[in-house]
């Protein structure tokens, strides 16, 4: 583990240095684009905790992202700036509670049923905001002022300032990354990895698997809420699209593209996905066609995701086989198959 961490650290610190130095080039458009990408990276990492480490492939993760955005828009006063710390806390809390309640239901299912019920729950939220006046219907809500960071009269930074907002998001990304890594190194994180490998085995060791999955789902939901809050701040409006299944699908693609089972992989996925989207849509109206082809090719030829490029390149340069740690994966097919016979019947109960 130690070895893997140190081998990784250099590229990570380098990327961080580039991100920290980027605004010095004074390219406002790209600074804002990077801000958006970093927000999506937080969102993708929150989903990777579920997909890559707990084995929960959720297709409804945008529900928590959107819910936090709407919470900010609904509780912010219309003609003055809201308090950042207060609204951020409330937004994350709402997402966490929603994840906890939804988790109580959806975690009783497995596999494809899990994908379907997470999707169904997210669609319920989508239609609540789309078809009722609660959040301004399909037009959404505007947020005329970015939240105010003042603490007892002292204002450490101003989110209205593009640069300040950029660095606030960058710090949020770094803090989220290290927080998630810390969680994974804890006994709780080890239990999640064990659950993904083989749930029955963890039960046999005396672990109440359901509650561990619920906790993971709630942590993932809260972090997605954090990203959703930042996103709503950046754009100054929310509409139902932020909790649509397109959004859930995009973030799942980011995780798969980058390589599930490593948080930096999810972040790489977010960078590549958003950049491709920007680049292709500037070339043609039919950008989704090309995007689809690229994704299919990447999944076919790089099943470990973009993060496996480094080890593969190093291996081919040194003429060795790549010594890639398997992704926090499942058991070999024979064991998995034997046990999935039970799982299938379990998921129907």
């Amino acid at each position: 583990m130690q070895q893997i961490v140190s081998r990784l650290q250099l590229p990570l610190w380098l990327s961080l240095a580039v991100l920290a130095a980027f605004p010095l080039f004074e390219l406002t458009f790209y600074t804002e684009l990077l801000t958006k990408i970093m927000i999506m990276a937080i969102f993708a990492m929150s989903l990777d905790l579920l997909v890559g480490y707990t084995g929960l492939v959720s297709l409804g993760h945008a529900a928590f992202f959107g819910l936090a955005g709407y919470t900010l828009a609904l509780i912010a006063p219309q003609y003055e700036a809201a308090n950042l710390w207060l609204t951020l806390g409330v937004a994350i809390l709402v997402s966490a509670l929603a994840a906890l309640v939804i988790g109580l239901f959806v975690l009783r299912t497995k596999g494809v049923y899990f994908i379907m019920v997470t999707l169904a729950f997210a669609q319920m939220f989508y239609f609540v905001f789309h078809d009722t006046d609660l959040g301004g219907g399909s037009d959404g809500l505007f947020l005329y002022f970015k939240p105010d960071a003042a603490i007892a009269g002292f204002k450490p930074f101003d989110l209205e300032n593009t640069l300040h907002f950029y660095y606030f998001v960058l710090i949020s990304l770094v803090v989220s990354y290290f927080l998630l890594c810390r969680i994974l190194r804890s006994p709780f994180g080890h239990a999640l990895v064990g659950i993904k490998t083989n749930e029955h085995r963890m039960q046999s060791l005396g672990y109440p698997v359901f509650y561990y999955k619920l906790a993971s789902f709630a942590i993932g939901g809260s972090l997605a809420g954090f990203a959703g809050y930042l996103s709503a701040c950046q754009y100054g409006f929310v509409n139902p699209e932020i909790l649509s299944w397109h959004q859930s699908g995009s973030v799942l693609l980011m995780v798969i593209l980058g390589g599930q089972g490593a948080f930096y992989g999810a972040a790489i996925g977010a960078f590549v996905f958003v950049l491709l989207q920007e680049f292709l849509s500037s070339l043609t109206k039919h950008w989704q066609l090309f995007m689809g082809v690229i994704i299919v090719l990447l999944v076919l030829y790089l099943p470990g995701g973009l993060r496996s490029i480094g080890p593969l390149l190093r291996a081919s340069l040194l003429g060795k086989t790549a010594n890639v740690k398997p992704p926090a994966g499942n058991d070999p097919p024979d064991i998995a198959q034997e046990e999935s016979a039970n799982d299938r019947s379990d998921s129907l109960h």
Binding site: H190, T197, H200, Q203, S204, V209, K325, G329, A341, D346
Partner: protein, 237 residues
């Protein structure tokens, strides 16, 4: 406290449409070593998994330490001091050897830590050398030792070993059998499933033979040894 640690009464189990166990009665008393025998597909693993609550479709009763736990969650049954070493090993490949061990550690039902991390490393010196290796980097024998070590760290009263020596080289097998004997000598009740019938007859007090999801016969190991005809009929040896 009852002296029966684990008991199945008229246990039926199903995988989807297939009926695997047909009313099995099985009892494990404290302190004994039971050899569970039978050809492939006769329901040995299913019997163990059903008693542990890992097979959801089942009828009949499962009693743990005398209390009815048929519908209890698997982790609650495990916390009654029952450790399971599954077939096909069962390490967590993405965790290091140390992490694999530490995640299982807890006090036994009596509140004591008879098996500590240090004691496990003393029992399995090979593991002590490989603490920082990932589970995926271990050899088959080492993986098996890790699984057994992990099970012991839960400080169980009853250890269920399913095909612990399968797929291992003869030398390593012998080492695993020695370890099993060592564990047995510490007074832990054990149920052993294995294809090596003579090793099981040597080590166990009692054998139970399953045939087509039913108990075909059970006997003291000494008696069973004197009835080679029966063993031949059900096990083909």
């Amino acid at each position: 406290m009852s002296d029966t640690l684990l008991e199945a009464r008229e246990l039926h189990a199903y995988y989807g449409a297939s009926h695997i166990l047909h009313g099995v009665n099985f009892r494990v008393e404290r302190g004994e070593t039971i050899g569970l025998l039978g050809r492939n597909g006769m329901g040995k693993t299913t019997l163990i998994r059903s008693m542990l609550g890992l097979v959801s479709q089942r009828d009949g009763e499962v009693l743990v330490r005398g209390s009815l736990m048929t519908r209890a969650a698997p982790h609650l049954i495990a916390r009654q001091g029952i450790a399971y070493v599954p077939e096909g090993r069962g390490i967590f490949p993405n965790l290091s050897v140390r992490e694999n061990l530490v995640m299982a550690a807890r006090a036994g039902v009596d509140g004591h830590y008879h098996w500590t991390y240090e004691r496990i490393l003393a029992t399995f010196p090979r593991l002590a050398e490989r603490l920082d290796n990932g589970g995926w980097q271990l050899s088959g024998g080492e993986q098996q030792m890790l699984t057994i070590g992990r099970a012991l760290l839960t400080n169980p009263d009853l250890l269920l070993l399913d095909e612990a020596t399968e797929g291992l080289a003869p030398l390593i097998r012998r080492e695993i059998w020695k370890i099993i004997q060592h564990i047995q000598a510490t007074g832990i009740t054990t149920v052993i499933v294995d294809k090596n019938h003579s090793a099981i007859l040597d080590i166990s007090d009692r054998i139970v033979v399953l045939n087509k999801g039913q108990v075909a016969f059970e006997a003291n190991s000494a008696d069973a040894r004197n009835q080679p005809g029966l063993l031949h009929r059900y096990l083909g040896v």
